[in-house]
Point group: C2
Chain length 409, copies 2
């Protein structure tokens, strides 16, 4: 138990009253699972965060519209992998709407789900129209069960090498309340385009306004701090659905004391999913943790942490266990945050290399040794204030380039 | 002859009244040339652009100070490669000043150069104090000649595989006037840290204020449009020195009709040097030209062009001759410039793939074939206005990662 909640093993069907499943409909040449859904068996509230890219995929536009129309009443998510349904024009919008319709007409009908209560999501290649014959049949054939989380997560994977799931619970009103989630996302070099999708469920009852605020805060310190850049792909999306199945009290609106435990559990689930993405960075061999302290503001700390975790040169140096702290200082310098080069402190794996902006006498071999494990920690002190932030990333490897040099053809 | 000037073969000693040279003083483990200088044999005016990184190397701080103190009267450049003299604190500042002093005390003394008339520049590893015993001796031993440009450019190379030089001439007042330049810079993935240095000379006479304005314009459309990102490393610098040795008239202040020819020649030299950097991108196999048209403003066009040329995923797709235009559209979408996804047009090598934001029927094999040469042209139409911009870059390769994963150790 930490901060009022307890990390547990689980996924999107660990909270009570959620069913999920996945299947294969032939969108992927590999023949791997490519269609799935999650549904709450009872009415629910919802919230979402979407990509800030001006080129938004059709499912993003349709999900945002459903969210706005209902004021946060989504209770189902239907999704596919293998095709992002992005840059597909009016046909793409029609296809995204049809995904919701086919779900309501099929597996959703047993639960009385209507089209506006459905979120849709897609991930995969951009600019190719969905094969709705296959996808529609795949959605209709989905079997959703209370232990279907693993099948759902398998169906959302693209270049992910491991499924990503997390859960946490807390006590409220004498009951155990759970938050669970699944995610996909693995390409991560500095920019931008590899989609991250995260679907979070909870059996808490939560007012939509507070749910949106809590989700935005959780995303800011989790997905937005991984160098998958959450806010950059055409399809990036995080959904949360709260169905109240384990709740005995007024829906959370932020004023109750249980709010902190709920936000803690939500933040934990998002954080674990985000870190799992960084650990699974395409072609990566090492996980990078960048801790920034002493910033004037949290926004500054985040900027510096993200710039360092996103620097190709820093990432390449981590691959080579090269304690090239100059690249770290340089990334801090171009991050956009105000820094004082003469106060900069840099440590790698707990070994301080730089103080007051200048290298101190350190053992280069010892510094390199701190970069040889599967996790490399970079700590940067700005000495300008009290704000902190952490970003996560991975090393840059030749394998990443191979993976991304022949994707569509 | 184009726009009033003529591209010619040449370098920083092609303009009359400039001497240059290079040597080896032992800063590089490889034993390659690592120290050099350029001097005007007569008084001159000068201008400079420097990195916008908050972490500025000592030579940047010292050169900027000399520029400010004199109001643009520099007539010499002394430089080293193998050590960037960045993040070196007060010792670094003293060393940069000493570089200028040793030059004036040595090869500069024959021309009466004083310390404030010297620009200094360094490139190489960050955070290591200069070995001033070696560098001071190297500066003192420099032999500067009127055909020394090639020796100077050799001494500024780091990971560059080819020397970079360019020149152009124009006629004014019955004389042939020349602009020449040399540069180094080769690491280029998205922004960041690889230093670019460019040293430009001219035997035109130019007022310092106009020289600065002309240089800033030239840099904006050349070095700042290459994905070396000129404005990001701790050491990025472009110097220009104008000595008037071939000028018979009032110094150019922007009002004379010769101003256009001068700006054309200066822009040509900077552009050629910038494109040479992109062609020599670390580990790269292909040169990428990104032409953006139809933007509302030039700033928007530049943002979109730079985002595309800087996208790791686009660069990796170019390596693989993969016409993955979705990555191009996505980069346009996160560039920060306002775009309308439904008006977007994308062509590769002259073959249109996307119109009104949607893929048109095209032959994927033919599109891939347009990406198999040494040059790949990407054209993006925004259909929002009349502004245009061009950015240059290179593909992302496994070799880039190898080169950058073991640099200091």
């Amino acid at each position: 138990m930490a901060d009022g909640f307890t990390p547990i093993a689980g996924d999107c069907t660990t909270p009570v009253g959620f069913l999920a499943g996945g299947g294969t409909c032939g969108l992927k040449a590999s023949g791997r699972p490519d269609v799935g859904a999650i549904v709450s068996t009872r009415p629910a509230t919802s919230a979402a965060t979407f990509t800030s890219n001006l080129v938004k995929a059709a499912p993003v536009l349709v999900s945002r519209e459903h969210l706005q129309v209902t004021g946060g009443r989504q209770r189902a998510i239907v999704f596919n992998s293998g095709n992002a349904n992005a840059a597909t024009g009016t046909q793409g919008l029609a296809d995204a709407r049809q995904m919701a319709f086919r779900f309501c007409d099929g597996p959703g009908s047993a639960h009385g789900v209507i089209v506006d209560e459905v979120f849709v999501a897609s991930t995969g290649v951009i600019g190719v129209t969905l094969d709705m014959d296959r996808l529609g049949a795949g959605i209709a054939a989905l079997s959703l069960t209370s232990d279907g989380g693993p099948r759902a997560v398998a169906a959302m994977m693209t270049t992910d090498t491991v499924p990503k799931a997390s859960a946490a619970s807390f006590e409220a009103h004498g009951r155990t309340v759970t938050v669970g989630g699944i995610a996909k996302g693995a390409a991560m070099i500095a920019p931008h385009m590899a989609t991250m999708l995260a679907f979070v469920t909870t059996d808490a009852a939560v007012e939509p306004t507070f749910l949106q605020a809590a989700l935005s805060r959780a995303v800011d310190s989790s997905f937005n701090m991984v160098i998958v850049d959450g806010d950059m792909s055409t399809n990036d999306t995080c959904f949360v659905i709260a169905n109240g199945a384990s709740w005995d009290g007024a829906p959370l609106d932020g004023s109750q004391e249980e709010s902190a435990a709920f936000e803690g559990a939500l933040g934990h689930v998002c954080g674990e999913l985000a870190r799992a993405m960084a650990r699974d960075g395409e072609g990566s061999t090492k996980f990078i943790i960048v801790d920034v302290t002493g910033a004037a503001t949290v926004a500054d700390a985040r900027r510096v942490a993200r710039a360092i975790a996103g620097s190709n040169l820093t990432k390449a140096a981590v691959l080579g266990a090269d304690p090239n702290w100059g690249r770290i200082a340089c990334a801090a310098g171009y991050s956009g945050a105000p820094i004082d080069p003469n106060r900069l402190e840099v440590a790698i794996g707990g070994l301080t290399l730089v103080r007051d902006g200048v290298a101190i006498a350190y053992d280069a071999e010892a510094a390199s040794n701190r970069m040889r494990g599967a996790e490399v920690q970079i700590a940067v002190g700005l000495h300008l204030g009290d704000a902190t932030a952490t970003a996560w990333g991975c090393d840059l490897t030749p394998e990443y380039v191979h993976l991304n040099s022949d994707y569509t053809t």
